[in-house]
């Protein structure tokens, strides 16, 4: 069934899957302990209907808007003669360095008009569209321009070439990005709380805050997990029917860039608007509070200590999640089967759980099973691993798919042992991808809020938790230095991701 995978590897894969399923298991068992009538009574209320409606329309509008913005941006940068292409690529990646809750803070402290449905859609779109933009740029780079040229020579207009040839070819990348956006929207807490837009996730947090481990919150979490599974199933269904085998070796030449002509000012204006909305507004708000807040005496020593802790946790979390993702991806790519696909898919289940559900699951399990681990960094790292494994798996997977098995067979033929093949052939090829995965997870860990609030040992403060305790109590000035530090910390990994997306094999 798992096509010749070594038992040890399978065991590791299964262990990862079990770890990833801990939060889901926790939600299911706690729900099962609840009486059935009780559950129906709780869920069948107008309040729940309102939360569902809020969540669904934010999910649909946010995913659609992020996909449109991400794909349009990638197409403009990669396929048109827009001036200063490299600069626009950097600008379009940059919002990744502004965490959603910092973005929300920037907007809400500027105008209260964003505390509405359109405002919420706008803020989450501006924060999350790079998750579609980056893979789409990479896919456009990899696409053989000859395919688009043939379509042009057959009389198709630019738009028709894009929808009938380009889009189907890059759709796996776009779909993957859209799935990530959807999962993020389902789990988003900080930004939506600041924007005063109640969803299932913010409601769960309110429940937990009032009755520490109440059954109602667990029920809501179950509903949320159902959404996540539906989303995963949908993506699997759509992706499964796509044929994306590249035919022939293809000599990827330089693509013919579409001349924007008289639309150039319009396109430049749109790009500028995105830059202003996604970057200038939050940064301006931040600067304003920074200038105004310096009077409230900034504790530099505390800021430095917090930044150090954050950096260390981010690196550790990134490395752990990537290391754990490798066996999972290896099984799924090289030993494709029902079991290995199930292992790969199981890691995704955690990603739609709000951080606090994962955190509380770990708190409960660690107290019940190994009390000595409670309130240690190990549990925090486990939490980060479960939370960010989906991201690591997505990027590690796309890397491993680039290594043809033929290369490994050649190396074996030249007398390499299994580990030597991994060290001398596979690893050098996948290292850039692994670096990307580590950067992606580190970026996420550095800005993670809710799980850290719950799982960090007493006295361990990160920039995000420090920022949140100030921002949520409307001390905007005091929060500003932490927000700035969060952005500064996120810049390097964002830069790595941005340049990696451009350096795909030609």
């Amino acid at each position: 069934m798992a096509g010749g995978a070594s038992p040890l590897l399978l065991l590791v894969g299964l262990a990862v899957a079990v770890l990833a399923l801990v939060p889901l298991g926790y939600v299911v068992t706690t729900t099962a302990e609840l009486g059935r009538q009780e559950a129906v009574d709780f869920l069948w209320r107008p309040r729940i209907g309102e939360l569902l409606w809020n969540t669904v329309r934010l999910l649909v509008a946010g995913v659609v808007a992020s996909t449109v913005l991400g794909v349009a941006g990638a197409w403009v940068v990669e396929r048109t003669d827009v001036p200063a292409r490299g600069w626009w690529h950097a600008v379009l990646c940059a919002p990744l360095a502004v965490p959603a809750f910092v973005n929300g803070y920037g907007w809400v402290s500027t105008t209260h008009a964003v505390q509405s449905f359109p405002g919420a859609v706008m803020v989450v779109t501006l924060s999350y569209y790079p998750l579609v933009y980056l893979p789409t740029v990479a896919a456009l780079r990899r696409l053989d321009p000859a395919v688009e040229e043939v379509a042009t020579s057959l009389g198709r207009s630019g738009w028709s070439v894009f929808t009938r040839v380009t889009l189907p070819a890059i759709s796996p990348a776009v779909l993957g990005g859209a799935l990530l956006v959807g999962l993020h929207l389902l789990a988003e807490y900080g930004a939506l709380q600041l924007l005063n837009y109640p969803t299932l996730t913010t409601a769960i947090l309110q429940q937990y805050a009032t009755v520490f481990n109440g059954p109602e919150a667990t029920l809501l979490a179950l509903v949320l997990v159902t959404f996540c599974l539906l989303l995963l199933g949908l993506e699997l269904l759509v992706r499964g029917r796509r044929r994306r085998a590249r035919v022939g070796s293809g000599s990827s030449g330089v693509p013919v860039r579409v001349a924007l002509g008289r639309y150039r000012p319009l396109v430049l204006a749109a790009l500028t608007a995105v830059a202003l909305w996604a970057l200038a507004v939050p940064l301006y708000a931040l600067t304003r509070w920074l200038v105004r807040g310096t009077s409230a005496s900034l504790d530099v020593g505390e800021l430095a200590a917090t930044a150090g802790t954050t950096l260390w946790l981010a690196l550790l979390g990134g490395l752990t999640a990537t290391a754990v993702a490798v066996p999972v991806v290896w099984l799924a790519v090289r030993h494709r089967g029902l079991l290995t696909t199930a292992i790969e898919r199981s890691v995704y289940t955690a990603s739609a759980m709000p951080g606090i559900v994962i955190a509380l699951a770990l708190v409960t399990v660690s107290i019940r099973v190994v009390p000595t681990l409670y309130q240690t960094v190990l549990v925090l790292l486990l939490g980060y691993t479960i939370l960010f494994l989906p991201r690591a798996v997505v990027s590690v997977r796309s890397t491993f798919e680039l290594v043809p098995p033929g290369l490994e067979e050649v190396a074996r033929n030249l007398g390499c042992s299994g580990p030597a093949v991994a060290r001398r052939v596979t690893l050098p090829l996948v290292l850039p991808g692994l670096a990307a995965a580590t950067a992606l997870v580190s970026l996420a860990v550095a800005t993670e809020l809710t799980a850290t609030l719950l799982l960090a040992p007493l006295g361990t403060n990160t920039l995000a938790t420090q920022f949140w305790s100030d921002a949520s109590s409307i001390q905007y000035g005091a929060a500003a230095p932490y927000a700035l530090a969060l952005i500064v910390l996120s810049v390097p990994s964002t830069w790595i991701l941005g340049s990696l997306s451009l350096r795909t094999t030609r």
Partner: protein
């Protein structure tokens, strides 16, 4: 009848470096091969005709319609040309029928009367059962045929082929090449075939344009470019011609290291370069006629062998000999010439 393609004074370049230096070419019908080493600009020429590269000067007409004049040009999608790139570049998400029907209007695709897609499959000699296969389920040769069928479906007057057979293995290359040539003739479309493979150019084309460093050295029939090259570079690029220094005295004969040889075409008296084809050289031992030489090395091909020899006077030559009489390296032999040779006035 208007020519399928007319090119006049075409120039193109990237960032100031000229790639095409004033090309003239007329393709009336049939297949014209652009033959040249890699980097000579042949792909740029093809892409200029297709509309993917903007020339800096010159004129291009397709079937009597001007598509390029100086810096003004018609967009690629309005030129109605067939284009077959390297590897075929089939749309991986569409099946064979949808690939072939891609350039057809909706009405043509649904069709009343004989189905265009089926007709195209028959034209390129593929079983109609392939219509619902996907590109990755086809062999390399089948992919190229489908790519041609896709290019021919909208009935273009001119098809551009960019090294279409270079990714196929040798046995497939010849079959596919012939099938493509037959399909083009049956469809009545002219073709511009870019290739660096002289065997392909000479066997498939009706006209061969030999290109080097952005210029055409000679444009003529395959037999003419091979037998009566107008430039020494054409002679040495096409087939294994060895070039020797010589002197023409009376316009009928040339004297060189191989002795006094008859000229195929008259040449002005004076210093010349003499081109001698490998198959004209006879390598024999134990005979008295011919020039003494030593065998340097041998490439054995089965049907024949190429033998490199050094004349005692110092010149190196390549000769083709039958597989049954191959000398050993280092052996002393005698070299003589069969038939007449071509001479070019020596320059500089």
């Amino acid at each position: 009848m208007t020519a399928a393609l007319e090119i006049e004074g075409l120039e193109a370049g990237y960032g100031g470096a000229p790639v095409l230096r004033g090309l003239d070419l007329v393709v009336k019908d049939g297949i014209t091969a652009i033959l040249g080493p890699s980097g000579c600009g042949k792909t740029t020429l093809l892409r200029s005709v297709a509309g993917f590269v903007s020339p800096t000067a010159g004129r291009i007409s397709v079937a009597g319609t001007e598509v390029v004049r100086g810096r003004r040009s018609v967009p690629a999608r309005q030129r109605r040309l067939g284009y077959v790139p390297q590897d075929g570049a089939l749309f991986p998400h569409l099946d064979v029928a949808a690939n072939i029907g891609f350039g057809l209007s909706g009405a043509e695709r649904r069709g009343n009367g004989p189905d265009r897609v089926t007709a195209m499959l028959e034209l390129v000699e593929l079983p109609t059962g392939l219509a619902h296969r996907y590109p990755h389920e086809l062999s390399g040769g089948q992919q190229q045929r489908v790519a041609l069928a896709r290019a021919l479906a909208p009935r273009p007057t001119l098809v551009l082929l960019d090294e279409p057979f270079s990714s196929l293995d040798a046995s497939l290359r010849e079959d596919t090449g012939r099938a493509v040539a037959r399909a083009l003739r049956a469809a009545g479309a002219a073709a511009l075939l870019v290739t660096h493979d002289q065997g392909e150019a000479l066997s498939l084309a009706d006209q061969v344009a030999v290109m080097m460093r952005g210029s055409f050295l000679q444009v003529a029939s395959p037999a003419a470019v091979y037998l009566t090259p107008t430039e020494p570079e054409v002679a040495s690029f096409l087939g294994h011609a060895s070039l020797l220094d010589g002197r023409v005295t009376d316009g009928e004969d040339v004297t060189c290291a191989l002795g006094r040889l008859p000229l195929r075409t008259p040449c002005a008296s004076g210093a010349v370069r003499v081109a001698v084809r490998a198959e004209q050289l006879q390598i024999r031992d134990a005979v008295r006629e011919g020039r003494p030489a030593t065998v340097v090395d041998i490439s054995f091909y089965g049907h024949d062998a190429t033998v490199r020899v050094r004349l005692d006077s110092g010149e190196e030559l390549a000769a083709r000999t039958p597989a049954t009489s191959v000398p050993a390296p280092g052996e002393r032999v005698r070299v003589s010439v069969v038939g007449d040779v071509v001479a070019f006035a020596a320059t500089g």
